[in-house]
């Protein structure tokens, strides 16, 4: 049976089944990445001398409808499949874009302001995005090629193999660039959240027991939730979303201990292993 002959309802049904390869949260993150890329492209349309986004008959930038997947945030219509030149220009400029610092920066060993700016690498002495973020942006564009929604006019397009290879090279180079920047003290030495100290954990536990309701915002239930969350997370070494998703069926007794079952985790998204963890209350 040809796929074009089936009814629009069935086509939408098939499209949804195809789109399930990514989790809902991942898709939402990817859409956010696409919006950022779209914004960068729209702002620097003339500077880059490329046309990555479709233009309608009046010369305005074409957007998918505002209720597309998530309400109120339109996404520009990228020209797909993406040209190698367009993709490289887009991601090179994205990797040069200055980012606001979120972490404490290291001490600069040298005066960075006195250096002559290299026109081929203007972001040498500025904070740019982490290498993981750039990989995420590239994954978003790859995912967008394969995404399908027949009702809104988004068709499935194959991602060109040569573009994929060039972007992989760009990523490898950028990782080394970020590593050098960390070494020179331009960017923060580590990424992500830090571990809590033992003194900090004990203080947090003590703080929890002293919590009292203040006005309408904090209630007694907050103390109970805080207690439960903190102890479960510490005992199971679990991710916060896994702890939040637990309910009665996931708890059981096993001898003198409570067993907790994580149905699916970040490292096991299909839930094949479904880890069971036992807790003994001392």
């Amino acid at each position: 049976m040809n796929e074009d002959n089936v009814t629009p309802e069935i086509q939408a049904f098939i499209a949804h089944a195809r789109n399930r390869t990514r989790a809902f949260q991942t898709q939402r993150g990817y859409l956010s990445c696409l919006r950022t890329i779209g914004k960068l492209m729209v702002e620097n349309w003339e500077v880059y001398c490329i046309k990555p986004i479709e233009v309608d008959c009046d010369g305005n930038i074409a957007y998918y409808p505002a209720d597309y997947l998530f309400k109120g945030k339109p996404i520009p219509k990228f020209v797909l499949p993406m040209d190698a030149g367009v993709a490289m220009t887009m991601f090179c400029h994205l990797s040069q874009k200055e980012q606001p610092s979120r972490k404490r920066q290291g001490n600069h060993a040298i005066d960075l302001t006195s250096e002559v700016v290299d026109p081929t690498n203007p972001s040498r002495n500025t904070i740019t995005m982490a290498s993981g973020s750039l990989i995420n942006f590239i994954s978003a564009v790859k995912w967008w090629h394969g995404y399908e929604d027949t009702a809104k006019g988004k068709k499935r397009v194959a991602f060109p193999e040569n573009v994929s290879e060039q972007l992989r090279e760009l990523c490898n180079g950028y990782k080394k660039e970020v590593g050098l920047k960390r070494k020179r003290g331009v960017m923060a030495a580590s990424e992500g959240k830090e571990a809590l100290s033992q003194a900090g954990y004990e203080a947090l536990c003590r703080y929890m027991y002293k919590l009292k309701p203040t006005g309408h915002s904090d209630r007694w239930s907050e103390t109970i939730f805080f207690n439960l969350f903190l102890r479960l997370q510490c005992a199971t070494i679990g991710r916060s979303d896994n702890i939040g998703a637990l309910f009665c069926d996931h708890f059981d007794w096993d001898g003198d201990s409570i067993s907790v079952k994580f149905v699916s985790t970040k490292s096991d998204q299909e839930g094949e292993i479904s880890r069971r963890i036992d807790i003994i209350k001392l």
């Binding site: 830090e194 900090g200 510490c234 209350k281």
Partner: protein, 91 residues
């Protein structure tokens, strides 16, 4: 939780292990992971990794105090490492 951490750092001057901005709910997981894998004679590192759901590849977030102490020939038994375990509910 973030309000609690902010209050502890600014009002009570407690060393949380990192600046307030670098902490989050994931920090508790990292703390438990680091703590469990650094008790002398404690659980095997592989079993801690299995409990935490890490793949047995390169996991960089656990700071190996035990290995560090072995290299520098420091004391293994430190009171702050072994006692006060009543607040932690490991096996």
């Amino acid at each position: 939780m973030m309000a609690a951490l902010y209050s502890l750092e600014t009002n009570d001057n407690i060393d949380l292990g990192a600046p307030y901005g670098d902490l989050g709910t994931h920090s508790v997981r990292k703390f438990a992971d680091t703590y469990a894998s650094n008790i002398p004679g404690g659980p095997l590192k592989d079993s801690v990794k299995h409990r935490a759901g890490h793949s047995l590849g390169k996991v960089q977030d656990i700071y190996d105090y035990l290995c560090l102490r072995t290299i520098y020939q420091k004391k293994f038994l430190q009171t702050e490492m072994l006692h006060n375990s009543a607040t932690v509910i490991f096996i």
